[in-house]
């Protein structure tokens, strides 16, 4: 019985969420609000569980975990946002959270974003007997140098827009960088769309096809809801 209800609910909600593709309607709103409300409730449950497991649960084991009180206090500072006088205290919690994230990003940056990228770009400019490899290497080097030049924001030729060898090289590199990126974006776009279509087929096969009756009922209801929305607008 629970499986049947679950199957119906999944199929109906999917169809109603998809109904937004044509027009906003009352059934989309119902599905959306259920989705957002459930997600918010789920987040609260997850947060409380995480707090219990990683903080209070550990602290209950003994004094060796006393330091966990620090993040708890920092978390509590968030509630000062409701005070007109002491709202500034909430900034400390936010600030430390942001700093942790920035430090995490920084830890791996020199190796992953700089050294490995440099190493991957130092390629032979001439490969004996393999013109395609030579062409690929040139392409890789020029696009990387062009991309790097494009993303340098505060160092650029001061006589930008005027003629001169520095400006010509700068402009050429930036152009190569932009075109190279666009080709890369095209590939990424096509790749992602292919994956998304795969998801859509998966949804149809996993949820809609097994509960064909629910899908048809949900579609009829969605068409009625959309018709009402159109009439209301007129």
């Amino acid at each position: 019985m629970i499986e049947l209800i679950g199957g119906w609910l999944a199929a109906v909600m999917i169809v109603w969420i998809y109904s937004f593709v044509y027009k906003d309607n009352v059934l989309y709103r119902l599905a959306e609000h259920l989705f957002v409300g459930t997600a918010a409730g789920y987040s609260i449950a997850l947060s409380l569980d995480s707090l219990n497991r990683t903080a209070f649960g550990q602290m209950a084991k003994g004094m060796e975990y006393w330091h966990l009180i620090i993040p708890i206090i920092l978390g509590l500072t968030f509630f000062f946002k409701y005070s007109k006088k002491y709202y500034w205290i909430a900034r400390y919690g936010v600030g430390i959270n942001v700093a942790v994230g920035a430090a995490l990003a920084l830890r791996a940056a020199p190796m992953a974003n700089i050294i490995r990228q440099i190493n991957a770009t130092i390629l032979p400019l001439w490969v004996e007997g393999d013109p395609l490899k030579t062409f690929n290497n040139w392409l890789m080097i020029l696009i990387t140098l062009g991309g790097l030049t494009y993303f340098i924001f505060t160092f650029f030729p001061k006589t930008e827009g005027k003629a001169g060898p520095v400006n010509i090289v700068y402009k050429a590199l930036v152009t190569i960088g932009i075109y190279g990126m666009m080709v890369g974006f095209g590939y990424l776009f096509a790749n992602t769309i292919m994956t998304r279509v795969g998801f859509l087929i998966g949804i149809i096969l996993q949820y809609l096809q097994p509960r064909f009756d629910a899908t048809v009922v949900a579609m009829i209801l969605a068409i009625i809801a959309i018709a009402f929305a159109v009439m209301k607008k007129k």
Binding site: A39, A40, I118, N119, L145, R196
Partner: protein, 288 residues
């Protein structure tokens, strides 16, 4: 403490850390992970460069920034919204802030400040949706300050301006697209770290003919913004935009520090390419 003394202390710390790297490398002490000595030295150089640029910026030296089309387009979008009598929408993403995406959320906040100031200037109502619970207070403060300092306190209504939705991806995405439609926004500005929801936002904005400016530093999502938005910040442009928008000279100086790192990379690639034909493999030295 005077500026010179601070610089001296920073330089002394730099030298001490360099000595630590050298001793660790030659004595195999294992203080720094194997193969990361050059990366660590590079990080120190970038710290010192950033510190030095911040110092010179504080002394009044201006930092030129190249034109970023998407940044200039924000004002155009807001002005268009006002002409049409529609509100402006901004969102910076969802999820926890203490992750590697924190710099992108900060860049988003910088751009939000700029958007809010422009909304105050033109008298446009601003709706900011978000799925980052830690940033609710920061957003409220930014928008309140912008409207009050812009002489439009009547436009500040916290429940209207700042809408926390949820930190679950697709629930947040469905609520954002619904907000775009129901509020019939005139400009949709999307800056921060985004995942699969990026195209959903762009499609929803395009369906209501909103003027769209979007940006993220997440490579897999940039194509969607480039394709579907009127103007897009490509990758690191969001950090430069965040710094420009904040108007904070120190943040701008830190962008110059990052640029210095890119210049070093550029030079190392060219040097590596020159040395390769003579049998010297720079790549091997970099991972020692």
């Amino acid at each position: 403490m005077s500026g010179k003394l601070k610089a001296l202390i920073a330089f002394a710390i730099f030298i001490v850390l360099l000595i630590v790297v050298a001793v660790s490398y030659y004595q195999n002490l294992g203080i720094i992970s194997s193969g990361r000595n050059v990366a660590f030295v590079l990080l120190l150089i970038l710290f010192l460069a950033g510190y030095s640029f911040i110092g010179t910026a504080k002394e009044g030296k201006t930092i030129p920034v190249r034109k970023i089309a998407a940044f200039d387009a924000i004002e155009e979008g807001i002005a268009r919204s006002v002409e049409l009598g529609k509100p402006v929408h901004f969102t910076l993403g969802y999820g926890p802030i203490s992750t590697v995406n924190a710099p992108q959320y900060l860049a988003g906040l910088g751009v939000l400040g700029h958007v809010a100031r422009l909304c105050a200037k033109y008298g446009a109502p601003l709706i900011s949706t978000l799925g980052v619970p830690e940033l609710i207070a920061a957003e409220e403060e930014i928008i309140r300050d912008a409207y009050y300092s812009g002489g439009k306190p009547e436009l500040y209504n916290v429940t209207y301006n700042v809408r926390y939705l949820t930190d679950q991806q697709f629930a947040y995405a469905s609520a954002v697209q619904a907000t775009l439609h129901r509020e019939n926004v005139g400009a949709n500005i999307v800056v921060g770290p985004f995942w699969a929801e990026s195209l959903i936002f762009m499609e929803a904005g395009a369906a209501i003919d909103a003027f769209q400016v979007a940006g993220t530093a997440r490579e897999t999502q940039i194509p969607f913004f480039v394709l579907a938005a009127d103007y897009a910040f490509i990758g690191e442009e969001i950090f430069a935009a965040g710094a420009m928008a904040s108007g904070d000279i120190e943040t701008l100086a830190s962008i110059r520090g990052q640029d210095f790192g890119k210049l070093i990379s550029w030079i190392l690639i060219v040097v590596g390419l020159i040395l390769l034909p003579v049998g010297i493999k720079l790549a091997e030295y970099l991972v020692k």
